[in-house]
Structure formats: structure tokens, C-alpha cells
């Protein structure tokens, strides 16, 4: 991406900063270029070696590939289980009691900025006023910036009609590409006066005490730069897909992220309800408008700069994607974004190792790159396993000499069983007993994940900068403008296979 969209048409410093600030100051931290030269070279060399190997030594090459994949699976599985078990201990998630949260005197509270990016959703403005109005925080310390695209007339009019008043303020983002949520947030950030900044989506229903809880936590542990609150779905009962999604989200926000945070490993943030120290956010360079999961990317960037993230037990309710096609679009974008973020994070490997440590770097790579890659290759290996069951053809036997076979068998059987069981345990521990059926049927969800992962990886290679349009599940309206992400509840949650 060498063009600078918007820079010419809108001569506004804030806009230029929002679009290009990060890329200009720290080009290696931005996904505007997906592969830096050494990464391209490495990939090409690996591909060339693979092809040469397949031509010259097909037997050995196939065995090496299957062995490598088996190792990746085993490593991913072991990491998942360890993180899950660590997170299942309720002490890994940070808690602030209601009393503690209310104890803070109003005068004692810092200024707080809430960013609410919205686009093409006139109907949710009313909800927004209601839900964010419920936040218990003194009005003179609170600032809610509703970030709307200036040419999104319907939403802007709806907002003006609803009478947005203090502590809310309308910020109109001048039209410019890329039309992404991170760009809107970067723009809004420059108007923010709070010491702490957070993001909610227009339809989010945050715990009214969440801001106060975050303040208590920041004071309790001054080393924290960022606090991620827990996201959960209120429509888990709508259909099987929302049930799966809710169970997965539960696993992600209740156990895996707290597990990561308790070990001080990089925490890929969710798209909303992350509370950031304003000065840290500014220092880190804000969000990357070129990364399709700018939230996860920011979490990794904070970790690379030596900042620490905690996970707070305070729920923000959201709405789960209830349509399979739409879900695949959203998920393929997430997977693509994970890979983007991981590629960005590994661009200075020595730096990453020094700051995050070897285990943290491995954990991050397994989680962000391993997840989509394993999800995609699942499809291939399930097929191989099925064919093996049918006739035990010699071609497959050749690819699996005994050690590889037993490793693959272990991760296939135990890995899938453990993945399923941890989903079940996660739902039970979180009190989501209504999700039993969804949990037991999770393998079907993995098939959806595999499709999304294939799509995401393909896009990363072929159309790295394309933003997958996601249709809003319930309102059923589609946005006709190309290249725009309408999925404003775009927090990167994750797959658990």
C-alpha cells in the first residue's frame, strides 16, 4: 500500500495522523506492508525448498511436513490446555468488588474518555444513549466521544435528532480511506482529554461500574497499562451458532486471556471494553488502521513495548453473530488479522525475545498464527484420517512413520477430546449451563472455523489489505460501499480447536 488515501482530499492534521501516524513513525509496527522483505524472502525460500523437496525427495519431504504439522498441533494443544487450566483458577482474572468500586470518591476519579465508533447504524443510537448513560461515573469527569463518519448522513442525523448532550459529544470523522474502526478511533483519540481511554461499540451493554472498577485496578497495580474487561453474548440462546460463539467467547475471555495475562504474556485485546492509559496509548502510536484486527495488534504492540495487560471480571454484553455466512466473513477477517498481527509482532524477532521472552513469544505465535493455521489444516487432516479409516491406503502410511503416526494420533484423539472437554468445563465454570448442546456439538463449529481459516489465509496471501465486509446480523442491512468494514463489534475472539 503506497498510496495515502485521504491525505490529499482532507488537509487535516488530525486525519493524517489518524490514517498514517503509526505508519510514518514506526513503519515496522504497521500492517500497511504485510510482509517485510525478509519475511517475503523467508516464505519464498521455504516454498522453494518444499517444492524442490517434493520433486527430489518426495518421501522424506512428506514425512518432514507431517511431522512438523504434528509437532505444531501438539504444541498448540499443550499450550491451550495449560492456559485453560491456569485460567480456570478464578484468581487469574482480576476482580474488584462492587463496594470497592463505589468506595472511590467522585473527586478522586481521573478523567475518562469513552470512544464509541459507529457507522451506518442509525437505529442503535438510541440504545447507545441508554446503555452508556447507565455508566456510573461523574459527568464532569466523563467524556463519551461518539465517532461518526461525516458522510454517514443517516446516522449523523439520527444522533442529532436524539439530542446528544454532555457528557456525550459527536465527533465527525472526515471521509477518507481506509474506512476502518481503528482510523475512527485514532481520529477520536486526538480529541480525548481523559487519562484513561476505552472503546465501546454502539450496541454494547457494559457493566455500569466497569470504569470505576478499571480505575481501582489501575491504582491497585500501577504496572498495568491496559485492562481488558470480559465480553459476553446476551443472545447465546438464539441458535446453535450463537451458542457455539458464546461458549467459545467464554473460553477466550474467562480462561485463556486471564491465563495469558497471569503469565505476563502478550494479550490480544478484544475489540471493545479495553481500558488504556492515555499516555501509554499515545506513546504506543494508537491503533493500526491497516490491520484488520487492530485490537489484537495493539495488545501485542503494548507487550512488545514492555507494557502489561490485565483481565477484569466485569462484563460487557454484546450480540453474537447469528448467521453462518456472516460469521465466516467475520471470522476469516479475524484469522487474517491474527496472522497480520503475528507477522508484525515478529518483524524484530530479537526485540520480541528480549521484551516478551522466549516462552511469551512462542505462546503468542502459537496462539495467533497456530490458531488459524491449525484450524485450516484440520480440514486436510480430518480428511486424511477419514480416508485412513476407510482403507488404510499405503500412500498415507508412507507419510506417517511410527513416531509421527503416534504423535499425530495423540494430538488428533486427545487434542480434540480435550478441546471439547475444556469447552464444556468452561461453560460450566461460567454458569452457562444452557450451552450443553452447543458444547457437545462443537466439532461442527470447527468445520466452520476451518472454512473461515482457509478463507482468511488465502486472503492474506492474495489480497492482504482487503477488508472483509461483514453484514450486521440482526438488522440485515448491507452496506454498499466497498472496502468498508461494517462490523463494528469486531473484537478478535477466537477459535479453540
Amino acid at each position: 500500500m503506497s498510496t495515502r488515501p485521504g491525505a490529499a482530499s482532507v488537509p487535516d492534521d488530525a486525519l493524517v495522523e489518524a490514517v498514517d501516524g503509526l505508519r510514518r513513525r514506526d513503519p515496522l509496527a504497521s500492517a500497511a506492508t504485510v510482509f517485510v522483505p525478509w519475511q517475503t524472502r523467508t516464505l519464498l525460500v521455504a516454498a522453494a525448498l518444499l517444492i524442490a523437496g517434493l520433486v527430489l525427495l518426495p518421501g522424506a519431504t512428506v514425512v518432514i511436513v507431517t511431522a512438523a504439522v504434528a509437532v505444531l498441533y501438539l504444541a498448540t494443544m499443550v499450550q491451550r490446555v495449560l492456559l485453560f487450566v491456569a485460567g480456570l483458577d478464578e484468581r487469574t482474572i482480576l476482580t474488584v468488588s462492587e463496594a470497592e468500586a463505589r468506595e472511590l470518591a467522585d473527586d478522586d476519579l481521573p478523567r475518562y474518555t469513552v470512544l464509541v465508533p459507529a457507522y451506518g447504524e442509525p437505529e442503535v443510537i438510541g440504545q447507545l444513549l441508554e446503555h452508556l448513560g447507565a455508566l456510573e461515573y461523574p459527568a464532569d469527569k466523563l467524556e463519551i466521544l461518539v465517532l461518526l463518519e461525516a458522510d454517514d448522513t443517516a446516522t449523523v442525523e439520527a444522533a442529532q435528532a436524539a439530542g446528544v448532550e454532555s457528557p456525550m459529544r459527536l465527533i465527525l470523522v472526515p471521509p477518507a480511506e481506509p474506512r476502518t474502526k481503528p482510523k475512527a478511533c485514532n481520529y477520536g483519540m486526538q480529541f480525548a482529554t481523559g487519562e484513561i481511554i476505552t472503546i465501546y461499540d454502539a450496541e454494547d451493554i457494559p457493566d455500569p461500574l466497569q470504569l470505576r472498577r478499571a480505575v481501582v485496578l489501575f491504582r491497585r497495580d500501577p504496572g498495568l497499562a491496559c485492562i481488558q474487561a470480559r465480553l459476553a453474548f446476551h443472545n447465546s440462546d438464539q441458535n446453535l451458532l450463537t451458542g457455539w460463539f458464546a461458549a467459545e467467547y467464554g473460553l477466550w475471555f474467562r480462561y485463556l486471556l486471564p491465563g495469558l495475562a497471569s503469565r505476563r504474556w502478550p494479550v490480544p485485546l478484544g475489540g471493545t471494553s479495553n481500558h488504556l492509559q492515555a499516555k501509554v496509548l499515545a506513546e504506543a502510536g494508537g491503533w493500526d488502521p491497516y490491520n484488520v484486527t487492530e485490537d489484537a495488534d495493539l495488545g501485542l504492540r503494548l507487550a512488545r513495548r514492555g507494557y502489561r495487560t490485565g483481565v477484569l471480571e466485569s462484563i460487557t454484553w454484546e450480540e453474537a453473530n447469528s448467521d453462518a455466512i456472516n460469521w465466516i466473513r467475520q471470522r476469516s477477517r479475524w484469522y487474517k488479522g491474527y496472522l497480520q498481527s503475528c507477522l508484525v509482532a515478529l518483524r524484530r524477532p530479537r526485540n520480541a525475545l528480549r521484551v516478551i521472552g522466549l516462552r511469551g513469544t512462542v505462546a503468542m505465535t502459537l496462539l495467533l498464527a497456530g490458531t488459524p493455521i491449525a484450524a485450516a489444516s484440520n480440514l486436510i487432516f480430518w480428511l486424511v484420517a477419514f480416508i485412513w479409516l476407510l482403507g488404510q491406503p499405503a500412500a498415507i502410511a508412507v507419510a506417517y512413520p511410527a513416531p509421527v503416526y503416534y504423535m499425530a494420533l495423540t494430538s488428533f484423539v486427545i487434542g480434540n477430546v480435550l478441546a471439547l472437554y475444556s469447552t464444556l468445563l468452561g461453560a460450566r465454570a461460567g454458569g452457562d449451563t444452557n450451552l450443553l448442546m452447543a458444547c457437545l456439538l462443537t466439532p461442527l463449529y470447527w468445520i466452520l472455523m476451518a472454512i473461515a481459516a482457509l478463507k482468511g489465509i488465502w486472503q492474506l496471501l492474495v489480497r492482504p489489505s482487503y477488508w472483509e465486509k461483514t453484514v450486521h446480523g440482526l438488522d440485515g442491512q448491507d452496506d454498499e460501499r466497498t472496502g468498508h468494514d461494517r462490523d463494528h463489534e469486531s473484537e478478535s475472539a477466537v477459535p479453540s480447536s
Partner: protein, 566 residues
Amino acid sequence: MSAGQLLRNDDPIRAVRGYRMVWVVVMSVCYIAVGLWLSYGKGVILGDALSRVADARFVLFSRDPHLAAMGFVFTPLTTFLELPLVAVMEHWPSLLAHDVPGIVVSAIAMSLAVLQIAGTLRDRRVGSGWIVAVCAMVALHPMIVFYAANGMSEALFLLFMAICTRGLLRWMASDDVHDLALVGIGLALGFLVRYDALAVGIGSAVLVAGTTLWRTRSTLRMRAHAMAMDVAIVVAPIVTAFLLWSAVSWLTTGDALAQFTSDYGNTTILALSGGAGHDPLYRAGFEIVEWLALEPMIFVIIAVAAVWTAARRVPDALPALVVYGAVLGFQAFSYFRGDTFGFLRFAITVVPLAGTLVGMLRPRQGLLFSRRAGPAAHLQGSDHELSRSRRLASWAAVVGLLLPGVVIAPLTMSKPQIANQEYAATISVLGMPASPQVGLEVETQQRTFRTERDVARYLDGQHLPPGSVITDTLFGYAVVAASSNPRQFVIPSDSDFVNALNDPAAHHVRYLLTVPDSGRGTTDAVNRRYPTIYANGADAGILELAFPNSGSDQPDYRLYRVRATA
């Protein structure tokens, strides 16, 4: 302070980890020492134990090493755990022939089982003296010592049952998903040791369902959801293990439930050994006699526990009753129906049952440690000091209810009518007087597997190339286990076994190792192919050597040299 530090500092489980290691090492070493003495000194080697060592050897060192070679008659965990030991001891066949890998596994497993019972009591924050006393009554019980020291699967099974009991008991107080998962995983691993765990799975599911339904405060619909979820967590692992095991078994052997249907399984053995014997009523009575033989006060203990539960309205006795009771009930019912033998070892669970129930006589005190206490948690135990009279009464219970088992079991275990598999060892270890006939049987039992070692030594002496001796492992396992050259045998798990048996000469097989075509020997693969081979060589072989068996319950062997024209 980060959560990570928090976990390291105030986790009481970590605090006692050091002591637990010491206990495990001390107990294991003692049990192993007893085991070596029994095996080498007293010739006590049990067929089922040795056969698992042989299975592990097939997996690693047969001509066709593969995991499935361990066979599908026994569920696989015991053999699986013996694999690394067999790998290490491969160059000392005498250790394998004397079942040392099995002894090590059973000794460690039994030590851990005792430790789990101790943990069950420690969760209740009762005094250390009490814990040590109750656990000693279990750990020193002759039946427990014997099965810790003989390499059988009982020890491992008791370990997982103790984990289930502890998990259920903890869960009833903590409502913690960790504990529930522990029960589920314990059941699944238990199933991978013995099928009896299926009965425990059903019992645990009923207990969990009832508890959750009873204590969830919500609408009926939500209570049903909560109940289904909890039951799913408890039974999912064992159901998965059962399905996977049956599927793998079916894919490999064409037989989903080999224990019940194959020629090597229990059902066939039972039929060929003349059935369970006696009429059902006798068998029912016999079962109760076996319980009493190991724990004479067991019914008093159960009655006391029941009265205690009713009086105090604390269901602490239920998990032990459900878990161990399910095993006992399942065994008793199977024997009553004539589906299994009336072995004393099937009653071994009365020992941990008695110990755990008596251990419960002291109420829970202090705070139960939980990593994620659920909504129905009730972590706080009694905060009253135990009164002096209660303290004395509980000590009296140990002496009056548990000690009799430890003291009387050696006597009952020396009776052939009660302890068919244990009496010889008991008599010879304790140097008890016995009638001439019993004395003779004891001597025969002490010689068991000596003939098999002789057969192995004879074959080893010829330094045969791989694949020279064909034998079924139905009885031949003991020969393979004792051989210093396991690759000389062609065994049923080898992919070319059937072809080699059909035309031994063409496959460079030099010897056929045969057993009489009677009793269980009728299912021997070599006899199936050549029904008269043992008697006359069936035109396939020329008799080279006969080995009359000097041990008990084992066949005579005849070694036939393969005829070139066969």
C-alpha cells in the same frame, strides 16, 4: 502482586507437596521390596500381571512392534504405564520374567492411592495423627500390600477410584468445576484400567445429578440444565474412553468388546474353566463372606456411616459409598449372575471403603481450598474443637472397626476356598501350617512360570534368527516374557502370523510351541489350525522336546520341529 505470584504463594496444595513426595517414595520402596521378595523369593507371580508385562514387550520388542500389539482384552492403561519400564529392563529378561515392571507400577499406584485417601482426609483439615492412623489401616492391610506388590491392575484401579471419591467429596462442598472434572477424568482413567469403572460412572452420575438438582436454587428448567451439564462433565470422559476403546478395538481386531467376546477374554475363560460354579444363592452368600474376610466390620462401618449421615445431615459418606459400593455391587452382581469368578481380589475395594468411611467420622473443619468455588459452595467446615469424648470415640472406631481387618485378613487370605489366588502366597510368606494337600498346592504355585522360563532358556540357547518359533500368546506369553530373544517368536499380533501358521516352513519357522487341545487350550490358535498337533504333530512337525509343567494352572508344552514338507 500478579495473579501468578498469588498462585505460587498461597496455594496450600503446593505447601504439602514435599511431604507427599516423601510418603510416596517411602511407601513405594516398601511395596517394591515386598514385591521383589514375593516374586524372586517366594515364586509368587500372577498370570494376569505377567501377561501385561509380556504385552508391553510385544509392543516394543516383537518382530512387528506396534501399539496395538498390547491386545484388547485388558483395557490398556496398566500395560501402557509399564512400557517405559519394559523398555529399560529389556536387557535383563529375568526382571521381566519376574514381573518387575508390573510390581513397580502397582507399588507406586498403591502408594498414590493411599495418598489420595490421605488427601481426602486432609481436605477436611482433620489432625495429622488421625490421617496417618486411618491411612495406615489401609496401607498395611495385607490385601492392599499384596496387590501393591504383585503387579496386578487392582492398585491402579484403586488409585483412580480414590481420586473419584475425593473429587466427589470435594465437589459436594466446593461446587468447583475442577473437582467435577477430576471425577470425570478419574472415571475415564479407571475405565482404561478395569471395566468396572463403568458401574462407578453410573453411580457417580446419579449422585451428581441428585446433588445438583437438589441444591440449585432456580427454576425447574435451569435446574435441569445445571444437572445435565454436571452429569455431562462427569460422564463425558468415560463415555469417550469407552467409545474410543471399543472403536479402536473393533477397527483393529473386528471385535469391539474383546473382554467379553474374544477367545482371550473373560467370558470364554469362564466357560472353558467350568463356569462360576455353585448356585446363585451360594454365590451371593460367598460374595458377602469375601467382604467380611477382608473387613470383618464392614457392615458395622456402613451402618455407623449411615446413622452418622442421617443424624448430622452431612452427606460426607455418600461419595465413598457410591464409588466403592458401585465396584462391589457390580462385582457381586456379575458373580451372582455367573458372569465372572468369585475372586477375592474383586472385593478389595472394601478396604478403602472401610478406611474412608471411618475417616469421615471426624467432621470437616476449617476452610476447604478451592480454585473456583461454584455458586452452591459451602467451603467452611465445623469450627468447633472436637470434644474429648468424640475424639476418644473416633480412636476407638479405628481400633474396633479397622484394625480387625488388618489382623484377620492374613487368616482368611490363607484359605484356598476364599482366597484362591492369594492363599499360596499368604501361607508361604507367613510360614503357616497347612494340610499336606494344601502344602503341595502351595509348592506347585510357587513353581508357576518356572517351566515357561525353562522353555525360553532352551530356545534362547539355540540362538535362533527372528521369526523361528510360532506360538499363540494365550499361554505362550510367559515364554516370550522370559526370553532374551523376543524376536525369535511369531505371535498373533504380528501381521504375518496367520500366513506363517498356515505354512510354517515357507516362512522359515522352525518350531511350533504347542499346548494340549483341552480346556482353554482349545482356543489356542495353533490348536485351531492343527487340532491334533499337540498329540501327534499333525504331520506338521516332529516332536523335539516336551516340557511337563511343574507350576499350577499352566499347561504342558511340546515343542515340534517344523517338517520341511508340511
